[in-house]
Amino acid sequence: MSDEEKLFVQDKEVVVPGEVLAEGLSFLPGSGTYRLNDKIIANRLGLLTMEGKVMKTVPMAGRYLPKRNDVVIGKVIDILMSGWRLEINSPYSAVLPLKDASFSYIEKGDDLTRFFELDDYMVCKITNVTSQNLVDVSCKGPGLQKLKGGRIIEVNTHKVPRIIGKRGSMVSMIKNATGCKVTVGQNGIVWISGEPEMEVLVVNTLKYIEERSHIQGLTEMVKEYLEKATGKTVEVPDADSLPEDAPEEGREFQEDADRPPRRDFHGGGPRSGGFRSGPRGGGFRSGPRGGPRGRPPRRDSRRFGE
């Protein structure tokens, strides 16, 4: 066994499957790499990141694969016995179990459509991913909620960190400039709600970012783009001045916030038992769809980015 240690690539370099990254037993394979004899070889297309002697690759292409603690936007595709099945723009669908759907108590056998209907969109956090890629999500937490109105678009999931920016600087700038509410899911689903013209501007801005995601100093370019479109001065939020507890780069939501729970759902209040007649006290009802609950977000049929 030779003690020779050789590194064939540099940190932050694009590597392709089968590429020999390093030789020597002191290097360790991480995700996206494997060891063959004394060589470390990449097993997917990605950006090499080295942490000491551990060699990992960050995927740069392909579909979204669910990861624990990711905040994603999902759509209800099925209502199960005790939960909901959500489509999360990935090969695997997610399940939102009853206990993680709402802070209020939901009785077994309750009409689940009172909380979430088919085709409803919601912001949720992935709580667990099993070896078989079964995905559990939760709707309990700050910012996790059902989405009403607005529009849903798809962006490249690998460009989401760029869209969010350092400590959310890019997305805050877009929000401030357009006055729209914007939520970016790690799975590449984005919800936008505001004035129709401004919603379109957000869509175009996201497209602009997606096309130029590899350029450095993109925030300045986006600032100019927004200023030209709105005719107003746009301020670039200083990443360092953003609150200390702001989420890490590329994430819009904090991991765990010590805030009092927000009661999003009022459907599970005390009941007097027996048959219920007349309007309930809760804000949700199982009545006709599209009623007073606000229309669900519209999904642009075209895949975004072309």
Binding site: V14, V16, P17, G18, E19, V20, G32, Y34, L36, I41, N43, R44, L45, G46, P59, M60, A61, G62, R63, P91, Y92, S93, S131, Q132, N133, R212, H214, I215, Q216, R303, G305, E306
Partner: protein, 239 residues
């Protein structure tokens, strides 16, 4: 002991171990999760990868590993004779061998219950189409971010009147007055595993072994090209 050959000069003037000119590009089909174009001489293949995605019907799902589905198809206008659209005995067989050529490198254990679909379309054919298809498919799979142990490179090798020639073109394949054998080979470059090996024609054992030996460095060069093309897509352009 090899007999002397009457085939001393190739029809298009190439060296005996020289493949036709290759052009390749990744990311040619925007809607696909991964795609690639691979052209060798006058044979051009497009490959598009969709997935991993949910596999239906459900009984086809495998909880241990994902499923790879390949589909090889020649366009009706791709050759001099019109190709009747739809699956044929030939295209089904080539789809199957393509799948088997790619399977050893794809880490399907990462995608239980899911499917990865590979569609290969040949827009122009002039011999060596299954090899062009495999090269394009391997690039498209990598482009789709699928985890795979290595790339797969493929090219045909051949023997024309006892002379080993790499990458026969259509004219060479159709030489009638002497013996012609066409041997498509696909290889995993890092380990040298052969994942596709077919033969059409008659060769001696020595000729066969020498054909494989001649084609190995060519396959390594094709892999280098495949990798370079995949990286090219992500070249940082400072503005």
């Amino acid at each position: 002991m090899m007999t002397t050959s009457s085939y001393t000069k190739r029809v298009d003037g190439r060296k005996f171990d020289e493949p036709r000119q290759i052009t390749a590009k990744a990311g040619v089909i925007k809607k696909a999760d991964g795609s690639a174009f691979f052209k060798i001489g006058n044979t051009a293949a497009y490959a598009a990868v969709y997935g991993p995605r949910e596999l239906n019907p459900k009984h086809m799902q495998d909880p241990k590993k994902g499923v790879l589905r390949c589909n090889y198809n020649m366009m009706p206008f791709s050759g001099t004779d019109r190709i009747k659209p739809g699956p044929s005995r030939r295209s089904k067989e080539i789809s199957m061998v393509t799948e088997k050529a790619l399977l050893p490198v794809v880490n399907l254990e990462d995608y239980p219950n899911a499917v990865v679909d590979v569609f290969i379309e040949l827009t122009e054919t002039d011999a060596g189409s299954r090899c062009a298809g495999i090269c394009a498919a391997a690039m498209a799979l990598a482009d789709a971010g699928i985890t795979m142990r290595d790339m797969v490179a493929a090219v045909s090798t051949g023997v024309v009147d006892h002379q080993v020639c790499v990458d026969l073109n259509g004219d060479e394949e159709h030489i009638h007055d002497v013996d012609v054998a066409d041997i498509p080979v696909a290889m995993v470059p890092s380990t040298g595993e052969i994942t596709l090996l077919q033969m059409d024609g008659i060769v001696s054992k020595e000729e066969f072994l020498s054909a494989i030996e001649t084609v190995t460095p060519v396959l390594k060069r094709i892999t280098d090209l495949q990798r370079a093309v995949l990286k090219d897509r992500f070249k940082t352009t400072e503005e």
